[in-house]
Amino acid sequence: MNIRESLIAILVLGICVFWALADGAAAQQGIGSALRLMTPLLLACLAGLYSERAGVFDIGLEGKMLMAAFTAASVAYITGSAWLGLAAGIGGSLALSLIHGLASITFMGNQLISGVAINFLASGLTVLIGQNAFGLGGRTPALTGDGRFGPITLPGAEAVADVPLLGPIYSGLISGQTILVYVAFAMVPITWWVLYRTRFGLRLRAVGENPASVDTAGISVTRLRYTAVAIAGILCGIAGAYLATGLSAGFVKEMTAGRGFIALAALIFAKWRPWQALFATFLFGLLEAIANLYPNLDLGIVVVPSMFMNALPYILTVIILAGFVGRAIPPRAGGEPYVKER
C-alpha cells in the first residue's frame, strides 16, 4: 500500500488520535459507537466485495440485510436462540442471493435491476410475513435473553482495565462486543487472505476482470460467480442478524435504514479492497458517532442546527472522496453478464 492508498487509514487513525487527546472519554464512547455502527456496514461491504470482485454488481445489499434481520429476529424469537436466528438470517439472505444469481448469472439479466427488485422484495416481504406471523405491523416481538447476542468479555479485560492507554483500548473498546463484531473484523484479514493467497481468490478476481480467461482455463464461470454471490449472501445474512439480534432486540420494518447503500458507497470508497473497506466503513461509523455526540455544534455566533449535524457524515464523505480518494475503477467485467454466444 502506498501513501495514497492508505490515506483513508491515516485519516481515520488521525481523527481517532486527535479525538482521544482532546476528549478521551468522549473518544472512547465515540469510537466504540463507531465500531458497532460500522459492523453491519463492514459485513455488507465485504459481501459486496466478494460479489463485485467476481463481476456481479450488487445493489441489493440493503434488501438482503433487511431480509436477514427479519428472518433472524423471527427465528430467534420463536426458538429463543440467537444462533438459530443467525442461521435463519443467513438463510433468508441466501435465498435472495439465489434470486440475484439466477437473474444475473444464469439468465444474464441486468444486475442493477435485479438488485433494485431484491430491495423492494425484501422491504415488502418482511412486513407482509411479519404482520401475518406476529400481527405487530411488521415488528417482531422484543427478543430477550438467549434470543440476542450478548457482549463478550475478553480474557484479561478486567485485569488491564486500569492500565492507562491499554485499558481504555482493550477493555473499553476491544472487549465487550458481541461475537458478530469479532466475526466481522476477522472477515477482513480472512477476505484479504482468501482473495490474494488462495486459488479460489485468484479465480474469483480473475472472473471479475476477464471471465473469458477463466473460461478458457477450463473453470466454470457460472459456478465461481454463484459461489461469490452466495458468500455475499452469507455475509449480508450475518450483517442483518447483527442488526436485529446483536445491536437491537428484534426487527422493526425498514430497520436497515439505508445502510446497504452506505456499504455500497464504502465499497467504492475502498476501491473494492478488504483493508480499505475496513477503514472506509470505520470512517462512516466514526462520522456518524461524531454527529451523534455533538448534535448541536455551538460555534459561538451560530448554533449549527441538528439537521446539518445529521447530514455532516454525508457532506464529509463527499469532501473526502473528492479531496483524497480519486478515481475508483471497478472490476473490469463488473455489471456485465458473461455472454459467450449471442
Binding site: 490474494y196 493467497r197 488462495t198 486459488r199 479460489f200 481468490g201 485468484l202 479465480r203 478476481r205 480473475a206 476482470e209 476477464n210 473469458a212 480467461s213 477463466v214 473460461d215 478458457t216 482455463a217 477450463g218 473453470i219 466454470s220 473490469r332 459467450k340 454466444e341 449471442r342
Partner: protein, 540 residues
C-alpha cells in the same frame, strides 16, 4: 522445411463434420480437417470465415452442433476447455484471454494451480517459467503486471500458459497480427523448435508470407466451409489468395512515384511528458508534403501513439506538450482551447486511429451512426438543431458501397461487422472527408488480404490526389510498400529517415531497436536485450 513423415502414426487432430451455428449464422459447416503429428498446419481465410470458431470448438470454448473430434486417433468429447487442456491442446486466442491486472505468474497458473493455496503453485511456476524461458527464449518478467507488458510480451505469456499446461498441440490464432517483424521472426523460431520436439502447431494468419515460410500444410476456409487443404510446398501465395477470396488478388501495392509539393505539416521539436512525468516524445521534427506518404516504423510503444494523439488534437490527460507544429503554415495549438479533436477536423486533419474498436468506432452504434462519428458537427449531417439522419444514412450507404463493406447494411451495429469491414468503415469515413492531412495508425491490423489490398489502394489514391499522409505501422512490409519516405521511431525520437527503395528491413530493424550506424550496441534507453538479439538478420 521437412517435418518428419507421419505416415503410420495417427493424426494429432482430426475433425470430422464439424458444424456450428450462432443463432442464424452458420459459422462452420461440415468441416473436415486432419493435422498430422509434428507438423505446422496453417489455416487461412477471410475475416469471418469461421477460423476462430473452429479452433475455439477444438479448444472446448464453444460446443459444436455436430461432428466428431479425434485427438491422437481417439475420439473424444471436448465439453470444456479443461478437457481440451487435459487432451494436450493449448490455444493462444486472437484476443488474448489474460487478466490485465494480474502478474504474469498469476496468469500462467490460473486454472492449473497445484492446491488450494497459491504460494506453492507460484513458486513452482516461477521455476518452470525460468526453464521455459531458457529452452525457448521466451523470457518475460514473471512478476510484471500484464497490462504493463507490450502486446508482444502478452503473447509470450499466452504461449507460456499453453506450454506450462504441457500442450502437445498448440493453436495460435493470428499471433503475428500484433507483432513486429522481429518478434514474429522470434516466434517462428520458437514454433520450429516446438515442432522439432514433436509438438503439433496450428497457425491461423492472414499473412501468406508466414504461411509459405513456416507451415507444412495449409487449409483454406471460406464462408464457414473448408474449401481446400494442400501441402504448402505445392502451392503459391497467389493461389492461396485466390482460394481464400474467390478472385485474383494483387499482392503488391501498385503505385507510381510520389510528386510531393508544398509542406502541409511541419513538426519542430515536439516533446511530451505524460501525467506520470515520463518523457514520451523527445524532440520530434518532421515534415510532410502534399502528395506524399511519410511512414513511421517502430516497435509499438515508442511514442507513435502519443504522436498521433497530439497531432489528432487529443494529447492524453495531464500530459505536458511542447514544441511547434504548423499546418499549412498556421500553428496548431498543442494544449488548451483549440487543441481538440473537433477543431483538428475542421482544420482539415483526418485520423484513422490505431485501435478501431476502442477509438475509431462506437461498437454499439450502427454503421451509419459511425459514419458521422467525429464529423457529427459537419453541416451536411445537420439540419438546424437536429442531425439529418437521412443524409447520414444516405452518405453511409454510399460509402459502404464504394468501400465494399460487407454486409452492406448500414443499420447493423459496428460490432456485428468483422474486423476488416469495421476498418473499412473507419477508412471510408476519414478518407472520403478528403483531408489535407491524414493520420493513419495500423491501417490493416488483423485485416484479411482482400481488404488490405483495398485499403492500401485507397491510401495511395488519396496521396495521388495531393494530400499529405502520415502512416504509422508496425508492419515493416506495409511501411515499405506504401511510404514515400520512412522515418523510424525509437524511444520518443526519430532515429533516422530512409527512402524505401534504398533501405532494407534489416537496416530499419536496427534503427527500430535504437541502433544507428555510428552506434552498434543496443541503446541504453530501456530496450530489452531479447528484442535486441531478436533483430531480424538481413531479411530484405
Amino acid at each position: 522445411m521437412g517435418g518428419r513423415p507421419a505416415a503410420a502414426a495417427p493424426a494429432a487432430i482430426e475433425l470430422r463434420g464439424i458444424s456450428k451455428a450462432f443463432g442464424a449464422v452458420q459459422a462452420n459447416r461440415d468441416i473436415n480437417l486432419t493435422v498430422p503429428k509434428g507438423t505446422i498446419h496453417g489455416i487461412i481465410g477471410e475475416n469471418g470465415a469461421g477460423k476462430s470458431t473452429l479452433m475455439s470448438i477444438l479448444y472446448g470454448f464453444y460446443k459444436p452442433d455436430a461432428g466428431e473430434i479425434l485427438v491422437g486417433g481417439r475420439a473424444i468429447t471436448i465439453a470444456d476447455s479443461q478437457t481440451a487442456i487435459r487432451a494436450g491442446i493449448g490455444m493462444v486466442f486472437q484476443h488474448f484471454k489474460l487478466v490485465q491486472n494480474f502478474t504474469v505468474l498469476e496468469n500462467v497458473i490460473l486454472g492449473v494451480e497445484d492446491g488450494a493455496l497459491l504460494r506453492p503453485s507460484l513458486s513452482k511456476a516461477r521455476g518452470v517459467l525460468k526453464q521455459l524461458a531458457a529452452d525457448y527464449q521466451l523470457s518475460v518478467d514473471p512478476d510484471e503486471t500484464v497490462e504493463n507488458l507490450s502486446v508482444g510480451h502478452q503473447q509470450r505469456v499466452e504461449i507460456l500458459k499453453a506450454l506450462y499446461r504441457q500442450a502437445d498441440i498448440l493453436i495460435l490464432d493470428e499471433p503475428t497480427g500484433v507483432l513486429t517483424p522481429a518478434e514474429a521472426d522470434h516466434l517462428f523460431r520458437i514454433l520450429e523448435g516446438l515442432k522439432a520436439e514433436g509438438k503439433t502447431i496450428i497457425l491461423i494468419t492472414h499473412k501468406l508470407r508466414e504461411i509459405m515460410e513456416i507451415t507444412d500444410n495449409v487449409s483454406v476456409m471460406r464462408r464457414g466451409e473448408m474449401v481446400a487443404s494442400v501441402k504448402t510446398s505445392e502451392t503459391s501465395p497467389e493461389q492461396l489468395a485466390e482460394l481464400m477470396v474467390g478472385r485474383k488478388v494483387l499482392l503488391n501495392v501498385d503505385k507510381t512515384p510520389a510528386r510531393p509539393q508544398a509542406p502541409v505539416l511541419e513538426v519542430r521539436d515536439l516533446t511530451m511528458r505524460d501525467a506520470e512525468g515520463v518523457e514520451r516524445l523527445r524532440g520530434i521534427s518532421l515534415d510532410i508534403r502534399a502528395g506524399e506518404i511519410l511512414g513511421i516504423a517502430g516497435v509499438s510503444g515508442n511514442g507513435q501513439t502519443q504522436l498521433l494523439e497530439i497531432l489528432g488534437g487529443y494529447p492524453e490527460k495531464g500530459a505536458k506538450v511542447g514544441g511547434d507544429v504548423r499546418m499549412n503554415g498556421a500553428p496548431l495549438p498543442l494544449s488548451g482551447s483549440g487543441c481538440d479533436a473537433g477543431q483538428r477536423r475542421r482544420d482539415g486533419v483526418g485520423h484513422i486511429p490505431e485501435d478501431r474498436q476502442v477509438e475509431g468506432l462506437i461498437m454499439d452504434f450502427t454503421a451509419w451512426e459511425n459514419v458521422a462519428f467525429g464529423w457529427h458537427d459537419a453541416p451536411e449531417f445537420n439540419k438546424g438543431w437536429l442531425m439529418d439522419n437521412d443524409a447520414i444514412r444516405r452518405d453511409a450507404q454510399a460509402k459502404m458501397e464504394r468501400f465494399d463493406v460487407r454486409p452492406r447494411d448500414c443499420h447493423l451495429a459496428a460490432r456485428n461487422f468483422s474486423g476488416g469491414n469495421q476498418q473499412k468503415i473507419v477508412v471510408a469515413r476519414e478518407i472520403e472527408r478528403n483531408p489535407d492531412l491524414l493520420l493513419i495508425g495500423q491501417p490493416t491490423r488483423g485485416v484479411d488480404i482482400g481488404a488490405i489490398e483495398f485499403i492500401h489502394k485507397q491510401i495511395v489514391a488519396l496521396r495521388d490526389a495531393g494530400k499529405a499522409i502520415l502512416l504509422v505501422s508496425v508492419e515493416l512490409d506495409e511501411i515499405l510498400a506504401l511510404s514515400d519516405r520512412v522515418a523510424v521511431m525509437f524511444d520518443g525520437r526519430i532515429m533516422g529517415e530512409r527512402l524505401p527503395g534504398q533501405t532494407t528491413t534489416g537496416e530499419l530493424g536496427l534503427l527500430m531497436a535504437g541502433i544507428t550506424d555510428t552506434d552498434h550496441t543496443p541503446a541504453e534507453a530501456g530496450i530489452p536485450p531479447e528484442v535486441a538479439h531478436d533483430l531480424p538478420q538481413g531479411r530484405a
